[in-house]
């Protein structure tokens, strides 16, 4: 039982991170492999804010979000928009954006290494335990989960109830048709990319309250987010959340029953199953 709850708590934060990537890939059509570095940067920010000024990570996210938003908006406008413009086919854009974001990812790691060094960083924030259903859990984990649920919920409502949300969903479904009904695809793609980056950075700030990170762990989170997005179905919020919870539970089960060193291997086996049996995602429809 406590394995299940720990898994769900972990899955909540995963959902937030994967949601960020899904916005970037589903709407802006950029498979952003530098996603994990944005996450680690968000974590560093929270770490520095907490150790220097005792600023609570819950408040830090209100600083992290706009900064990450602006940074990702600039990245999209300056570096990725030219690739979108020059790509003749979807496949070419995929190859180009994968290579470009790999470049950004390595540069991100390199910059963080030279500024902060290669050490692990962690801080103790709310390291007290709370009791849930007879077992005790770290308060920081529970709080991160609650924040992730709130942010995911807000995003879900915004995407499904607001005018820009509707436009963004339209782009995710049919980018060429969206243009024909007067949606500013360029502007909204940049917006979705920036928003995705902000969500991921907030996820990083939250995850840093209970996990130990270092400058080069980003790629692990990128991989997990990618697996979740593909499992849940590209552009599918509901699928992303279910897939993230499943991954969180699976990882916790493997880590506590088998070996903590095998978590990524377990995630991969799950990914392989999806590729073989449901490549369109958990709730995706079969392509015609």
């Amino acid at each position: 039982m406590d394995i299940l709850i720990t898994g769900i708590l972990l899955g909540g934060t995963y959902a937030l991170i994967a949601m960020g990537l899904n916005l970037q890939y589903g709407v802006a059509r950029i498979m952003n492999l530098a996603n994990g570095e944005i996450l680690v940067a968000g974590g560093y920010f929270a770490f520095i804010a907490y150790t220097a000024t005792q600023l609570s990570p819950i408040l830090t996210i209100f600083l992290v979000a706009p900064i990450a938003f602006a940074l990702n908006w600039l990245i999209y406008r300056i570096m990725l928009q030219p690739l979108v413009n020059r790509a003749k086919t979807r496949g070419q854009l995929e190859t180009d954006s994968i290579l470009a974001t790999f470049g950004l990812s390595f540069i991100g790691v390199g910059l963080m290494l030279s500024f902060f060094g290669g050490d692990y960083f962690s801080y103790s924030f709310m390291a007290v335990s709370v009791e849930l259903l007879g077992n005790t859990y770290g308060a920081n984990r529970v709080l991160s989960f609650v924040m992730a649920v709130l942010i995911c919920g807000a995003l879900y409502l915004w995407l499904n109830r607001s005018r820009p949300g509707l436009s963004i969903r339209a782009i995710a479904t049919a980018p060429t048709s969206a243009r024909l009904v007067g949606i500013d695809v360029k502007h909204l793609s940049a917006l979705a990319f920036a928003l995705g980056g902000a969500v991921t950075a907030v996820g990083g700030a939250l995850i840093s309250t209970y996990l130990t990170l270092d400058a080069s762990t980003g790629v692990v989170f990128t991989l997990k987010a990618l697996i979740i997005v593909i499992m849940g179905g590209v552009g599918d919020v509901r699928g992303t959340i279910v897939a993230a919870l499943l991954l969180g539970i699976l990882e916790t089960v493997v880590a506590s029953l088998l070996d903590p060193g095998l978590t990524l291997a377990a995630a991969y086996v799950m990914f392989l199953g999806i590729l073989l049996f449901r490549p369109q995602g958990l709730f995706g429809k079969k392509p015609t």
């Binding site: 190859t95 080069s216 095998l262 291997a265």
Partner: protein, 311 residues
């Protein structure tokens, strides 16, 4: 098989070039030979990588996984089998692993393939580490009488084999099918090409070659452990070198390997912490400045010269 005059000339030049390269260990046994081994290794890896990724445009990051499997084949079997058998065995393991990965992912779009191969090395590494932890074994010692010059000659031979394979594939029906797939996969499928089969078959080439390279280089490491054998950075270096040189030509990757090896060598000895930054920059250079590599640039210039001549 009919060879034209140009083919024969190129073949003779290639044999001559390999002959000259094979003389290196007689000239120097220290720094330059070490660099020669590195260059031969990356030439083999990048050229075989480009054989698959050049025509299909799939970006494979599985090199480190295959390489690691190869080093482990040597590490585990060095006590019982002769070295040449291990290299062959590694090739078979690499090809089988590549076929499995290909069957799972190559029917789908390129993104799935990239993501899967990106984590493949990590997957194999975690499994091996786990097995080692459970059996109480830590690492493997590879003790042979093979010296640096021997490793160099082995690699050079493998490189020659890769170039020969690439040249033969280019002339075969498979090579023709792959060029069509690269241009337009829908057209290829409609003209009766089994695209998934062609891609899986071709992907087995870099898989086998990378595993054999790993098997050959294992004696150089002496002590093998998972984090060393499956270092993911290797996959990225190979991608950069092949793309910098240009994956569309057989000789393209070679043009990328040599300058980039020197650059990385210089950077890692002077600013050891900045190698990731250099690799990141290299990716951006490829995407924004040299989208089809040096080879593409040369082709473009030649094309313009020819155009001017006709006027």
């Amino acid at each position: 098989m009919s060879l034209t005059g140009t083919d024969l000339r190129n073949l003779c030049l290639a044999i001559l070039a390999f002959g000259v390269c094979a003389l290196l260990p007689f000239g120097d046994n220290g720094y330059w030979l070490g660099l020669g081994v590195t260059i031969a290794m990356f030439t083999t890896l990048a050229t075989s990588w480009a054989l698959f990724s050049g025509p299909t445009h799939y970006i494979s990051l599985a090199t480190a996984a295959f390489f690691g499997v190869g080093t482990y084949v040597t590490g585990l079997g060095i006590e019982t089998f002769p070295f040449w058998a291990l290299v062959g065995l590694a090739g078979i393991f690499g090809a089988v692993l590549a076929a499995l990965v290909g069957l799972a992912t190559l029917r789908l779009s390129g993104v799935y393939f990239v993501i899967f191969t990106l984590g493949l090395a990590e997957l194999v590494r975690q499994v091996i580490t786990w097995v080692q932890n459970n059996t109480g074994q830590k690492g493997l010692y590879v003790l042979t009488d093979l010296d640096e010059a021997g490793i160099y000659w082995w690699l050079l031979g493998l490189a020659a084999l890769v170039f020969l394979t690439g040249w033969l594939i280019g002339r075969s029906r498979l090579g023709f099918a792959l060029r069509i797939i690269g241009d337009d996969e829908t057209v290829a499928a409609h003209s009766g090409i089994n695209t998934a089969r062609a891609k899986v078959l071709l992907f087995m080439v870099p898989g086998a070659v990378a595993a054999m390279t790993g098997a050959i280089l294992a004696p150089r490491y002496v002590y093998i452990e998972p984090s060393l054998a499956f270092a993911p950075i290797l996959s990225f270096q190979v991608v950069i070198m092949a793309l910098l040189g240009g994956a569309s030509r057989l000789w393209g990757p070679l043009v990328g390997v040599i300058p980039f090896t020197f650059l990385l060598e210089a950077v890692s000895s002077n600013f050891p912490n900045q190698t990731t930054l250099v690799i990141g920059m290299a990716f951006l250079v490829i995407v924004y400045l040299l989208p089809s590599g040096f080879a593409g640039l040369v082709d473009k210039v030649m094309h313009q010269v020819k155009k001017r001549e006709t006027f």
